[in-house]
């Protein structure tokens, strides 16, 4: 019985030395990995020094879900919503991974999630949520204060 899909397995290694084996069809959801496969560089284990095991597992889970033809549209929507319910540290890792691996749809969803976490919040709130340090110089602070005034002078 012939199959139209290749049964090739792609091996990946995360930054913390965890290895993952996935079907090629799953791996090529990532444009970056797809290019490697197309260029014939995917025969040995592909090292991913900028993605840790926890995040890589998540990303591969996403890819698997999106290749699975038994999943309905509604199920997929719910999956995607739950998927992005992460703390900011994991979200950051996921953003970096999605960007590097160039996974269809994932990067856009992560960016949207980050955007939703930022929208409508005051600067102090945003700094608190994302653990960002206020690094403005006194001159810049003054420029900002003037910018925020309600009159032109």
């Amino acid at each position: 019985m012939s199959s139209s899909k290749s049964n090739k397995i792609v091996k990946l290694e995360s930054s913390d030395n965890k290895t993952f084996e996935v079907e090629e069809a799953v791996a090529v959801q990532s444009e970056t990995l797809k290019n490697m496969v197309d260029d014939g560089c995917a025969n040995d284990t592909i090292p991913l020094p900028n993605v840790n095991g926890k995040i890589l597992e998540m990303v591969l889970g996403w890819c698997k879900k999106h290749v699975d033809e038994t999943v309905t549209g509604d199920e997929l929507n719910k999956y995607e919503a739950d998927f992005l319910d992460l703390d900011q540290a994991d979200l950051y890792g996921l953003l970096m991974a999605a960007n590097f691996l160039n996974v269809k749809g994932l990067l856009d969803r992560v960016l949207q999630r980050v955007a939703d976490m930022i929208k409508g919040k005051k600067p102090e709130e945003i700094r608190r949520i994302f653990n960002i340090k206020n690094d403005f110089t006194p001159e810049e602070e003054e420029e900002i204060r003037l910018e925020n005034a309600w009159a032109f002078d």
Binding site: Q88, A89, Y92, G93, L95, N99, L111, Q112, V114, A115, I118, K119, G120, K121, K122, P123, I126, R127, F130, N131, I132, K133, N134, D135, F136, E140, E143, I144, E147, N148, A149, W150, A151, F152
Partner: protein
């Protein structure tokens, strides 16, 4: 025990491209609320030219009432302050990169706000409205002088347009597209012929046009390529028996004159809802009555929003 700081990622180190991508989905309120005040890296991303090609304030309307004395409109001061603050932050972050500026027809900008804006958008190529009731002639002329690269203007209904056209012809050498949201009579057509003979695109849609004005336009604007008179009320001004007469169809002589145009867009169908609305509103369509944003459409794609 791991150091908390090392687990927690540094969002301020996010590559500018990614930050800009996130900010591109924000509207002007969200952009100016506070993200530029989080940290210096985010502030820099907020100033990226990609975010500031267009400043779209078309969701902002003044809180106003109409009054009997000039300027015939009174704007609530809180409404004014909101606009001022929004302009200050936007124009500061935009670093002079704005090329399109879009207002709402019910946003009553004052002289100070207009001048402040014009000075900080030196590269402006397209201006859409706002209402000019509170702006003096000197104010608008000063603004036009600051916009040497202006190519396209959508103007509200104003009483005495010649001074404006003259200022544009003196200062805006690349000016080629005009959309008028108001009636076009003979004197306006003459003004266009005198001061904007190189006009390429003109939209007069959903208004009242005098037939003679249309002829003047077609005869005098020799560089005109696109003319949109969709959903207009075409009238002939006569003294007797009735002062004006609505001309139903566009006659053959006009069509012949218009045949040299690349696009002559018309619509006078009785069944067309926009044509009906223009008729019901006596030739001056009252946009506030209809769907929000309806005023933004135009059959000419370069003049649509």
């Amino acid at each position: 025990m791991e150091d908390c700081y090392s687990i927690v990622r540094r969002w301020e180190d996010l590559h500018t491209d990614i930050l800009v991508k996130i900010f591109q989905s924000f509207d002007i309120f969200e952009l100016t609320k506070g993200i530029a005040h989080v940290c210096s890296a985010w502030r820099m991303a907020c100033c990226d030219p990609l975010l500031w090609k267009t400043l779209d304030l078309s969701m902002l309307k003044s809180d106003f009432i109409m009054i009997q004395l000039e300027p015939y409109v009174y704007v609530n001061s809180r409404s004014d302050k909101t606009l001022t603050r929004l302009l200050k932050i936007s124009l500061s972050l935009s670093r002079g990169n704005i090329t399109s500026l879009i207002f709402h027809f019910n946003l009553y900008v004052n002289d100070e706000q207009l001048t402040y804006t014009a000075e900080r958008c030196p590269r402006l190529r397209r201006l859409v409205l706002p209402a000019w009731n509170r702006i003096k002639k000197t104010g608008i002329c000063k603004a036009i002088r600051a916009w040497k690269d202006l190519e396209s203007l959508t103007m509200p209904n104003i009483a005495d347009p010649p001074y404006l056209m003259e200022e544009i012809s003196k200062n805006c050498k690349n000016f080629s597209k005009l959309k008028i949201m108001g009636p076009c009579n003979n004197s306006f057509a003459c003004t266009l012929a005198t001061h904007l003979p190189k006009l390429k695109v003109l939209s007069l849609r959903c208004s009242i046009i005098e037939k003679d004005a249309l002829i003047i336009i077609l005869d005098s604007l020799l560089h005109l390529e696109v003319l949109n008179i969709s959903h207009c009320l075409l009238i002939e001004v006569r003294l007797r028996p009735a002062p004006k007469r609505v001309v139903g169809e566009i006659d053959q002589s006009i069509r012949e004159k218009a045949s040299r145009l690349r696009e002559f867009i018309t619509c006078t169908k009785d069944s067309c809802i926009m044509c009906q609305r223009t008729k019901n509103d006596d030739g001056q369509i009252r946009w506030y009555r209809y769907e929000e944003g309806l005023w933004k459409t135009d059959e000419v794609s370069s003049l649509a929003l």
